[in-house]
Amino acid sequence: MSNPRSRFVTAWMCMGFAFLYIPILSLIIYSFNSNKLVTVWAGFSTKWYGILLRNEQILEAAWLSLKIGFITAWIAVVLGTLVALCLTRFGPFRGRALLSGLATAPLVMPEVITGLSLLLLFVAMEQAIGWPAGRGTFTIIVAHATFALAYVAVVVQSRLVGMDPSIEEAAMDLGAKPAKVFFVITLPIIFPALLSGWLLAFTLSLDDLVIASFVSGPGASTLPMVIYSKVRLGLSPEINALATLLVAVVAAMVVGIGLFSARQEKIRQRDIQMAIAANK
């Protein structure tokens, strides 16, 4: 790695990663600034964290966002997995192409269009059948589940395609019903995809501003909506503190999952060793 070309690539990579991480680092550093003018350093302080944790509006919005994200993730995982199953295991059926199109379209649809169209649907439904009466948490969950399920479907589909079909076939040959095959064979194998799909749906929901703004009603403000209304007015040290907390949670989760899977890997290696020893 000493010729000029690889030195160029290494230098470029360092700059690229600096570009990706400097903004996040700047948020974290200036969250400990005691000055109300966020970018003018006036000494170390953690007072903004205290103020943030006493801000009822932000806490309420965060709680609402977590609830919406949690419910959204479950709906999206169930429906997304069903879509993936239809598209990979059911062979050709009538309307398969349309289902495939419907399930991938939310991935490329601009958020403003998805948001607008869903709002107009909810308004039209309320006029026609009186349901859903008003908009709020429920309509946000429906909207989020609709676009998140597309992401889950992609993740699960790639896992189903990559999976060895002979295991399912063997179970079927031995007389297991399709539902049983799914729960006993397929589900455990695609479980990693379901877990990452769940986390993806949860994050997408937690992060969405545009669609939620369209389909929400008075009284239901999610965390991004509250952050947006604050950020529009300019910099706010509380938002820096909030960003730092969110980054800390994500980093802890990533390290946690890393440690967990490293431990599982060690257990698996030990089991393999023991199995080999036992068979000698």
Partner: protein, 332 residues
């Protein structure tokens, strides 16, 4: 991430899920519902297809039909603020009123034209910058040794998991007149007065490139990692200079990644609302922002619907072009 850990978890989940589902099916409301579906000829496979289909049709397909309908309606001062498209008169005559004014408005008013063209320009240039910045990064990642590769890949994906809104917000602090960059430059004595960066097109480009760079790097990395490195060795053995080999072998072989990355940046950038709203100036016209304003500030639902339909057509054209290019790039 190790598969073994997930698999162990999966085993536990499956053994506990199966009896759970069996018992759930016995619950009265669920039994009645399943019975109802069964009478409609929906059981097993049919039900598995029906559920997601019904959801997507109701919450994704029908909404577009409604948008299309309202784009032909009149603006009214009422709740909801648009006229009905068809009316059944007392004598039973059905009158359908198609109003093309909203579309004529899009064509006549220069604001919309400018917004569409400007969005395409900003999205295109941003995707190009992402490609230039991202290609060497993806290249370096794909050629790094295995342990480093996973760490670098993790570092590219990690920002995804933190809030998009807050990452855009971070740039306000960096680019402001009294922001971090200007303060540093002033402190070093490199400039006398702050450089105006906020509320300009420059800030919008920075924001889009920053937010969507990972979308460019990931498909490039996948394409470059798959590449057979022995081709380059063969070219070198035959006397080909490294730079020439790069342009005649590496770039063409990574073309599918380039096209995938380009459209992954271009399409979301086109409809972007948050970045032009927070970082752009009043003269930064982008179509997603225009639609938002029509809807929320002017309460012009029919015009917003027409803007959405025109935008949808634009996205469809781009998707079509993308699939054409992709097929051409993958053909031997």
């Amino acid at each position: 991430m190790s598969r073994a850990g997930y698999l162990a978890l999966g085993d536990q989940l499956a053994t506990s899920a199966e009896p759970l589902i069996r018992n759930l099916v016995r619950l009265a409301p669920i039994r009645i519902l399943l019975n109802l579906f069964g009478r409609l000829g929906l059981r097993g496979r049919g039900l598995v297809i029906f559920l997601p289909y019904a959801w997507l049709a109701l919450f994704f397909l029908i909404p577009f039909v409604i948008v299309l309908k309202i784009s032909f309606a009149d603006q009214l001062i009422a709740r909801p603020p648009y006229s009905a498209l068809w009316e059944l008169s007392e004598k039973g005559y059905l009158t359908i009123k198609l109003n093309l004014n909203n579309y004529r408005f899009l064509i006549d008013d220069a604001l919309y034209w400018k917004a569409y063209l400007n969005s395409v320009k900003i999205a295109f240039v941003s995707a190009l910058i992402c490609l230039i910045v991202g290609y060497p990064m993806a290249y370096g990642m794909a050629r790094a040794d295995k342990a480093w590769r996973n760490i670098l890949l993790m570092l590219v994906i990690l920002p995804f998991w933190t809030s998009f809104l807050l990452r855009v917000y971070a740039w306000i602090g960096l680019l402001n007149n009294n922001g971090i960059i200007n303060n540093a430059l002033l402190g070093l004595g490199l400039i006398d007065q702050p450089i105006v960066m906020m509320k300009t097109d420059f800030a919008v480009y920075v924001g889009i490139v920053y937010s969507y760079l990972p979308f460019m790097i990931l498909p490039l990395f996948t394409a470059l990692e798959k590449m057979d490195v022995t081709l380059l060795e063969a070219a070198a053995d035959l006397g080909c200079k490294p730079l020439k080999a790069f342009f005649t072998i590496t770039i063409p072989l990574s073309m599918p990644g380039i096209i995938a990355g380009f459209s992954l940046v271009f399409i979301p950038a086109l409809g972007e609302f948050v970045i032009p709203d927070l970082l752009g100036g009043t003269d930064t016209l982008m179509i997603g922002h225009v639609l938002w304003n029509e809807f929320f500030s002017n309460r012009a639902w029919p015009v917003a619907s027409a803007v959405a339909i025109a935008m949808l057509l634009l996205v469809l054209v781009i998707l079509y072009l993308q699939s054409r290019f992709q097929r051409a790039a993958e053909a031997p």
